[in-house]
C-alpha cells in the first residue's frame, strides 16, 4: 500500500513515517504540484494525504484533487485533507474539497494513521460502485433521479445502451467487451464533465447500461458529444476487416446467423420538467418506451421524449 | 512578389494575388492595400498564407533562387539512383522556379 503525502508539514514528520512503515505502508512524499501530478500519471499511489493550500496556496491543492479524480478509472483513491485550526474555524468548502476525511495540523501520528486506515476500509464498504467502471450503481442512480424530480428545476435523465453488444461480445470476447464498456463510461464522464458538470450525475446500472442526469439546457450538446466521440473511438475496438465491411455476421439470441451493424449507442432521454413525475420509477417507465424507439434506429442515435416521439 | 504567412502581414502591404475564402469566394482583390481590419478578417478565416508585392518580410538567411535550387540538388544527391525521388526533385525545382518567377 503506497501512500502519498503532499505538503511541507506532513511530508517532514519522521514519526508518521515510522508508524506507517511499521504497519507495512510505503510512504512517498512530494512538496511541489507538478511532481505530485507526475506521480499520479506514471505510477499512482493507493491513497493521497494532502495539505490544504500546499505549494503557497496557488490553487495547487484543487489542481491535484482534479487530477486524482480524473484518473479514478480502475480504482478509487481516497483523499484525506490536512487542515489548520484556522481553516476549521473559517469553515472549509467541502463541495470544492470533495475529500474522504480530514485531520488538523500539526499531525498527530497515531491519529493520522487511524484516519488513513478508516478511509481505506470505508472505500471498500460504502459505495454501490460498479466494479468495472467505478461509477455509482442502481441505488445511487434511483436516489439521483429522485433528487432531480424533486428539485423544482428542469433536468434530463438519459439512458445509454450499447447496441448489438451481445454479438460483439461473442465475436471479440468478454474482455474486449469490458473494454468497450469502460470506454463508453469514460466518454460519458468526460462529456458531462466538460459540458455540463454543474448538478450532473453519472451512474452505471450494470452491463452495458448507463444513466446520466444533466440540466435540460445541456442535454443536446452532451448527447451529441458522446455520440460523436463514440464514433471516433470505436474504431480502436473493431478489427480492420469489420470496419471495412461495415458489419459482421454472428448468431442472434435465437441462434440464427444474422448480420449485425457495428457498435453503436442509443441514448433515451426523459425530461423531468417540473412536477411531472412523483417517483423515479415513473421516469424509468417512460425511459423504456423511449428506448424502444431509439434502439430501432440504425446507428448511434439519441431521442428526447417530447409529446410526440417522432 | 513574396508569399508570406498571414501572421506576418502588416498594414500597407499590397496584395499581389487575390485572397480567396475557404468556400471559394473572393475576399480581397489583387492590388488591395492591407489594413488592420482586412488582416483580421484574413486571420479569422484561417487563411494561412497570402502573396504580397515586393519583398516586405525579412527572412533570416533567405537564399537566392540559385542557392535554393542548389540546396535541392544537394538534398537529393545521395539518391540519384532512385527514379521516383529524382522525379520529385525535378518537380520541386520546377515549382520553385515558377513561384519565384511570378
Amino acid at each position: 500500500m503506497r501512500i502519498l503525502f503532499v505538503g511541507k508539514q506532513i511530508a517532514s514528520s519522521p514519526e508518521i513515517k515510522i508508524v506507517l512503515e511499521t504497519k507495512g505502508y510505503q510512504l512517498i512524499t512530494r512538496e511541489k504540484l507538478h511532481s505530485a501530478i507526475s506521480l499520479f500519471l506514471d505510477d499512482p499511489p493507493d491513497m493521497l494525504v494532502m495539505e490544504k493550500g500546499f505549494d503557497n496556496n496557488q490553487g495547487s491543492d484543487t489542481d491535484l484533487m482534479n487530477s486524482v479524480k480524473a484518473c479514478q478509472q480502475k480504482v478509487n483513491i481516497p483523499v484525506i485533507l490536512a487542515v489548520t485550526q484556522e481553516d476549521i474555524k473559517k469553515g472549509v468548502d467541502w463541495k470544492t474539497y470533495s475529500v474522504d476525511d480530514f485531520f488538523t495540523l500539526p499531525p498527530v501520528p497515531h491519529l493520522v494513521v487511524n484516519r488513513i486506515e478508516l478511509a481505506l476500509a470505508r472505500m471498500v464498504r460504502v459505495f454501490d460502485n460498479n466494479p468495472l467502471s467505478k461509477l455509482p450503481g442502481n441505488t445511487s442512480i434511483l436516489q439521483a433521479i429522485q433528487r432531480s424530480i424533486e428539485s423544482g428545476e428542469k433536468y434530463a435523465v438519459c439512458y445509454i445502451d450499447i447496441d448489438n453488444f451481445k454479438p460483439y461480445n461473442d465475436r471479440y470476447g468478454f474482455s474486449q467487451g469490458d473494454d468497450v464498456i469502460l470506454m463508453v463510461a469514460r466518454i460519458t464522464v468526460n462529456a458531462v464533465d466538460e459540458l455540463a458538470r454543474k448538478d450532473s450525475f453519472i451512474g452505471h446500472v450494470g452491463g452495458d447500461d448507463f444513466v446520466f442526469i444533466v440540466r435540460e439546457e445541456s442535454v443536446q450538446s452532451v448527447c451529441e458529444r458522446i455520440l460523436d466521440n463514440f464514433e471516433v473511438v470505436k474504431k480502436m475496438f473493431l478489427s480492420s476487416d469489420d470496419l471495412e465491411a461495415g458489419c459482421y455476421n454472428e448468431k442472434d439470441r435465437q441462434g440464427r446467423e444474422t448480420t449485425f451493424g457495428l457498435l453503436s449507442l442509443s441514448i433515451a432521454v426523459v425530461l423531468t420538467e417540473i412536477d411531472k413525475f412523483a417517483h423515479s420509477g415513473e421516469v424509468a417507465t417512460v425511459a423504456s418506451q423511449v428506448k424502444h424507439y431509439v434502439k430501432e434506429k440504425e446507428g448511434s442515435n439519441y431521442l428526447i421524449d417530447r409529446r410526440a416521439y417522432r | 512578389m513574396q508569399e508570406i504567412l498571414s501572421l506576418q502581414a502588416k498594414e500597407d502591404m499590397v496584395l499581389a494575388r487575390e485572397v480567396m475564402t475557404p468556400d471559394g469566394r473572393v475576399l480581397c482583390g489583387k492590388g488591395t492595400a492591407l489594413t488592420a481590419s482586412v488582416i483580421e478578417r484574413i486571420l479569422k478565416m484561417d487563411i494561412s498564407h497570402i502573396a504580397v508585392e515586393g519583398h516586405p518580410v525579412e527572412i533570416e538567411g533567405e537564399k537566392t533562387l540559385e542557392q535554393e535550387l542548389a540546396d535541392i540538388q544537394n538534398r537529393f544527391s545521395r539518391v540519384t539512383h532512385i527514379q521516383p525521388l529524382q522525379y520529385i526533385k525535378q518537380r520541386l525545382m520546377h515549382l520553385l522556379v515558377n513561384a519565384r518567377n511570378e
Binding site: L33, H34, S35, I37, S38, F40, L41, D42, P44, D63, N66, S67, K69, A70, C71, Q73, K74, D179, L182, M183, R186, I187, V189, N190, D193, E194, N229, V232, V233, K235, M236, F237, S240, L243, E244 | L5, S6, L7, Q8, S48, H49, D71, I72, N74, R75, F76, S77, R78, V79, I82, P84, L85, Y87, I88, K89, R91, L92, L95
Partner: protein
C-alpha cells in the same frame, strides 16, 4: 555500444519518465487550460502538433492503469478517452525548464511535417483510419529524443559526426551506438504498451520491408519521412534525403500524377504548419 551498455540503455528507457517538451507549447497549453472557455478539442488541436506531448498521451491511455493497454493508436481517441483534467494534469507535470535547442525545433517541425504528409497520403489511399497513420507519422522519430535524453554524450558525438564526417544520422548512429533511432523508438513505444499500429511504423520507418502486420502504415510513414525531407521542411540533423525502399514504393502504387497532386496538397498544408510554428516562436519571445 556493447551488450551490457545496450541492456543498461533499455532499462533506462523503460524507466524514462519525462521527455523534454517545447516550453512554448507548454506555456500556450497552460494558458489555454486556465481559460474556462477552452475545450479539450481545442487543446487537442495544439497537442496534435507536438510529437512529445502526443506520445506522452498515447503512453498514458495505453497504460494498464488507464485501462486500454495496446489498444489506442490514434491521438484523437487518446484525447477523447483521457479527457480535459488528465490532459491538464499532463501539461502541469511537464517540465517547462527544458531549454529549447535548435535541433529540437528542427525535429519538431520535421515530425509535424511528416504527420501532415501521412494524413494526405492516407486519405488518398482510402485507409480506414487516416488519423492513426498521421499519429504514427507524428511520433516516428521519438527514438531520437530518447537518445538525446538518455545518452546525451553519444548524442553530441552523433551530431558532430553528421557535420564533420558528412555521415547521415542513421550512419552516425550505427557507427557510434550500433543501433538506430528507429530501433530505439521501437523499444520505447513497446515498453510503453503502444499498439503495434504505432510500434511497427516507428521501428521500421527506415526499413519498411521488416514490417509484418502494418506494412501499409509503415510504407506511408517511410515515404512521408522522405518527402518531408525532400521538401526541406525541418531537418533531421543531416540534410540528405534518405533512400526509399522499392517494396514500400510499389506498395503505395503512386503515379507521377499522384505525386504532382500530393506535392501540391502538401505545400498548401505546410503553410498551416508554418503558421503554427511562427505562433509558437512568437510565444517563445513573449516569455523572454
Amino acid at each position: 555500444m556493447d551488450e551490457k551498455q545496450i541492456a543498461e540503455f533499455r532499462r533506462a528507457l523503460r524507466e524514462a519518465k519525462s521527455l523534454p517538451t517545447l516550453p512554448a507549447i507548454i506555456s500556450k497549453l497552460t494558458r489555454m487550460a486556465e481559460d474556462p472557455e477552452t475545450t479539450s478539442e481545442q487543446m487537442g488541436k495544439v497537442i496534435s502538433k507536438d510529437h512529445i506531448l502526443a506520445i506522452k498521451l498515447l503512453k498514458l491511455v495505453n497504460s494498464a492503469f488507464y485501462g486500454f493497454p495496446q489498444k489506442i493508436s490514434s491521438l484523437s481517441s487518446a484525447i477523447i478517452l483521457l479527457g480535459f483534467n488528465v490532459i491538464k494534469s499532463l501539461i502541469i507535470s511537464s517540465s517547462i525548464f527544458e531549454l529549447m535547442e535548435e535541433q529540437d525545433v528542427e525535429l519538431w517541425e520535421h515530425s509535424l511535417g511528416c504527420a501532415v504528409i501521412c494524413s494526405v497520403l492516407a486519405k488518398r489511399l482510402d485507409v480506414n483510419d487516416p488519423e492513426e497513420i498521421s499519429t504514427a507519422g507524428l511520433v516516428h522519430d521519438i527514438g531520437k529524443v530518447a537518445i538525446k535524453m538518455e545518452l546525451p554524450h553519444q548524442f553530441k558525438k552523433i551530431l558532430s559526426a553528421t557535420e564533420k564526417e558528412e555521415l547521415s544520422v542513421l550512419g552516425a548512429e550505427e557507427k557510434i551506438l550500433g543501433i538506430s533511432h528507429a530501433e530505439v523508438g521501437g523499444w520505447l513505444s513497446k515498453s510503453w504498451n503502444l499498439p503495434s499500429k504505432l510500434v511497427e511504423p516507428i521501428t521500421c520507418h527506415h526499413e519498411p520491408a521488416k514490417a509484418k502486420d502494418e506494412k501499409l502504415a509503415t510504407a506511408i510513414v517511410h515515404f512521408s519521412d522522405i518527402l518531408v525531407r525532400g521538401m526541406g521542411y525541418g531537418h533531421g540533423a543531416d540534410i540528405w534525403v534518405p533512400p526509399m525502399s522499392k517494396q514500400a514504393w510499389d506498395m503505395l502504387g503512386l503515379t507521377a500524377d499522384d505525386l504532382d497532386e500530393i506535392i501540391e496538397e502538401v505545400e498548401e498544408k505546410l503553410w498551416d504548419v508554418k503558421g503554427f510554428s511562427l505562433e509558437i516562436t512568437q510565444e517563445e519571445m513573449k516569455q523572454e
